[in-house]
């Protein structure tokens, strides 16, 4: 079992997440894609920790998880309040902040 597969999987997951963020319009889906990217990064961090035989990467992964949890709280709240005012969860409808 080589770590390369883990890294490839991580890269694949990250790319799926990135593409999802760019192409999907539903805020919930975009949000899930962001989580996907975060977790892809977590996977690679853990993999590198394994490769190097050190715990730094795993510690970092915990931090990322904490940040992700906090982000979910804030992000979902924002999405909820947008949905309440606009009756939609499409991120393209929330485009007032522009030129």
């Amino acid at each position: 079992m080589t770590p390369t597969y883990y890294l490839l999987l991580s890269a694949l997951l990250f790319s799926i997440g990135a593409v999802g963020v760019l192409v999907r319009r539903n805020a919930i889906v975009v949000f899930m894609c962001i989580e996907l990217m975060l977790n892809a990064v977590n996977l690679s961090l853990v993999t590198f920790a394994r490769i190097n035989g050190a715990l730094d990467g795993q510690v970092m992964a915990f931090f990322v998880m904490v940040v992700a949890a906090a982000e979910v709280v804030v992000g979902l709240a924002i999405i909820m309040s947008i949905f309440r005012t606009r009756r939609t969860a499409s991120i393209d409808d929330a485009n007032l902040l522009k030129y």
Binding site: A18, L22, V23, R25, L96, K98, Y99
Partner: protein, 662 residues
């Protein structure tokens, strides 16, 4: 030679006794001016008397100091009264100190004496007549006296200062006061223009004076008269020549000398007492004072003196020629002043042979020209402010006092034997003839010829104003009334009488036993008697009187025997046309200075608008336009921001990889 001259400089003593009160000389009028300005309308009722009193007080103090000085031995008469340290910056240290010597005391007496009489006259002349169009008469008179006092203050500072910076302070103060007074009738555009013209042309001269002072400072490191005159011999000939020419430029501006003479006649826009003050006692004499005061500098450069004398000769001729052509009584007198100041400048340009004579003529001229202007003001007062002599005529019977005092001033000006001008002007012409070589012939000849012209235009003025047909009987004033000529009130005639006495006797008194010349020796050095030269000294008075008589005769033949047309004849010979246009002085100024200046200004405006502004505005427009386009990137779609973040991230990674593996 320099060593000899340096040894002749007087020893300077500290001023004690009455002289320690000398600061009151200028402090009194300054206080008067301040009170009148600050109190405003509250001083309307009595302000003019305060103005007269302060000048009278200065005169009394001046007289006391003069008498005290006269009691001293000649070598002790140069005294200084340091008041306080005025400017102390680095190596520059300038005292606020007074120099009380024969020269400055003579000026103090002239300024406060004649100036005081003019103040008294102005009380009557500026009196509110309460008619229509004069609602603020009392306020105007109060303002007038505030400015009048300021004028005298500045002039006294000018002559009393013991260094060049105080001279400059007074110089600029006189310029400011003359600006205010020439433009006194603020509602007349012509007065405002004349005031501006006077101020601007004075600036040209002031620049010369300022640069001369800078040159003295950089070369000598001091501006006190005593130190400068002691060490002036250290400078090279070229520097001294430059300083003298620049000082002359200053004198030309202030004294209305060629080529800066054009402002003086326009200065007639002010009230007549202003003309009298500017032309007789103050302001225009400043240039003569400047050159006489700096005589130790001029003594070192013959070329510098020659330039001065040439300027004087040109001016005296210009003034006399133009004076013959004007019909405006005040303008004739104004050009007469230009001409007479030309005589003084010529005199001081003759160097040791003429300094004292220039001051002599300045004093006698101070009397008779003040008298003439006051007389002209009295005539205007009687004739509803009319100045055109063609509308006068036969006024002698209606205003006898004005006629007699004016007539005495007239005789003094044309140099009628034993009147004031006879002594001073003939002495100058004699000294001019006494110059060696061509200078004697040119200077003396032109001065004699101009004396004849002086007699002509003054006789013409007398004949047109006081004699002949009463042309005003047929005419109406500008607002449709008849003329009612009448004698002026006593407050105006008394000063005229006093000044007329001065015009008669000042010459003979000051000339007897060389009174004035000897008095001025401590300041100006011994007067060199002319020897040799073009024409021997004894014959000059006959020559001058002969020319003057010729001028009177021609005036009698051309003006006195023929009726004077009320309308000015327009079909006249070329010289008259040229003289009526001030010998094209204004046209020349316009063509040589004003128009190139305008073009330069226009070119600069164009460059500024299109060049500088274009650059600045162009940069701003470029930035604005491009950011307007860049702004479109902010679509408000989160996805596009995410894409640019991703793109940025990819770029960073690519750059890192490129650096790593390249």
């Amino acid at each position: 030679m320099n060593a000899v001259l340096a040894a002749e400089l007087p020893q300077v003593a500290a001023a004690t006794g009455t002289a320690s009160l000398a600061w009151l000389l200028f402090a009194l009028p300054a206080a008067g001016s301040l009170v009148l300005f600050v109190l405003g309308r509250r001083a309307d009722a009595w302000g003019h008397w305060l103005g007269v009193l302060t000048i009278a007080g200065s005169f009394v103090i001046g007289l006391l100091i003069f008498l005290e000085t006269a009691g001293l031995a000649p070598e002790q008469r140069t005294r200084e009264l340091p008041l306080f340290e005025w400017i102390a910056v680095g190596g520059l240290s300038i005292d606020f100190g007074l120099r009380l010597d024969p020269l400055s005391l003579v000026f103090v007496l002239l300024i406060t004496g004649v100036g005081g009489l003019i103040h008294l006259y102005a009380v009557g002349y500026m009196a509110p007549h309460g008619g229509e169009g004069d609602p603020d008469g009392a306020t105007a008179r109060r303002r007038f006296f505030a400015q009048f006092n300021l004028f005298v203050t500045a002039m006294l500072l000018l002559v009393l200062g013991n260094n060049f910076v105080m001279l400059y302070l007074g110089w600029e103060g006189v310029g400011l006061a003359s600006y205010l007074l020439i433009g006194f009738y603020q509602d007349r555009p012509s007065a405002a223009t004349a005031a501006k013209k006077a101020f601007l042309m004075n600036r040209v001269g002031d620049v010369g004076l300022a640069i001369a002072i800078f040159l003295l400072w950089t070369n000598l490191g001091t501006l006190q008269y005593t130190d400068v005159f002691e060490r002036i011999g250290e400078l090279s000939g070229g520097t001294i020549l430059a300083i003298t020419v620049l000082l002359l430029l200053g004198a030309c501006g202030k004294s209305g000398q060629f080529p800066l003479q054009a402002w003086l006649p326009d200065a007639m826009e002010g009230p007549t007492p202003v003309s009298a003050l500017i032309h007789a006692a103050t302001m225009v004499t400043a240039g003569v004072y400047l050159i006489a005061r700096t005589n130790p500098i001029y003594n070192l450069t013959e070329t510098g003196r020659l330039v001065v004398a040439l300027v004087g000769v040109i001016t005296l001729l210009i003034g006399a020629i133009i004076g013959c052509a004007y019909d405006d009584i005040k303008k004739v007198l104004a050009y007469s002043t230009v001409s007479q100041i030309g005589y003084m400048i010529l005199a001081v340009g003759l160097g040791p042979a003429g300094y004292a004579l220039g001051i002599f003529h300045l004093l006698t001229h101070g009397f008779f020209k003040a008298g003439l202007f006051l007389g002209a003001g009295s005539v205007m007062h009687a004739m509803h402010d009319e100045v055109n002599m063609r509308r006068f005529g036969g006024l002698a019977r209606y205003m006898p006092i004005t006629f007699v005092t004016f007539g005495l001033g007239y005789l003094a000006l044309i140099g009628f034997p034993f009147f004031a001008g006879y002594y001073s002007k003939d002495e100058i012409i004699g000294a001019a003839f006494g110059q060696p070589g061509w200078q004697g012939w040119v200077f003396g000849g032109v001065a004699t010829f101009a004396a004849g012209l002086t007699a002509f235009y003054m006789t013409r003025l007398m004949l047109m104003t006081f004699f002949g047909e009463k042309r005003w009987e047929r005419l109406k004033t500008s607002d449709g009334h008849d003329y009612h000529p009448h004698e002026s009130p006593a407050v105006m005639t008394v000063p005229m009488i006093v000044i007329a006495v001065g015009s008669v006797f000042s010459g003979i008194v000051l000339a007897s036993n060389h009174l004035l010349v000897d008095w001025l020796v401590p300041s100006l050095g011994e007067l060199e008697e002319p020897h040799g030269g073009a024409i021997a000294h004894e014959y000059v008075p006959f020559l001058v009187v002969g020319f003057s008589a010729l001028g009177v005769l021609i005036a009698w033949l051309t003006v006195g025997r023929r009726p004077t047309p009320v309308e000015r004849p327009e079909r006249v010979s070329f010289p008259v046309r040229a003289a009526r246009k001030d010998l094209y002085a204004n046209a020349i100024n316009e063509a040589l200075v004003a128009r190139p200046g305008t073009w330069l200004a226009r070119a600069l405006v164009y460059l500024d608008n299109r060049g500088v502004d274009g650059l600045v505005n162009g940069t701003a427009a470029l930035l604005g336009g491009s950011s307007g386009r860049l702004r479109r990137l902010q679509t408000g779609f989160v996805r596009s921001y995410a894409l640019s973040m991703l793109g940025g991230g990819v770029l960073v990674v690519a750059a890192l990889l490129a650096v790593r593996f390249a």
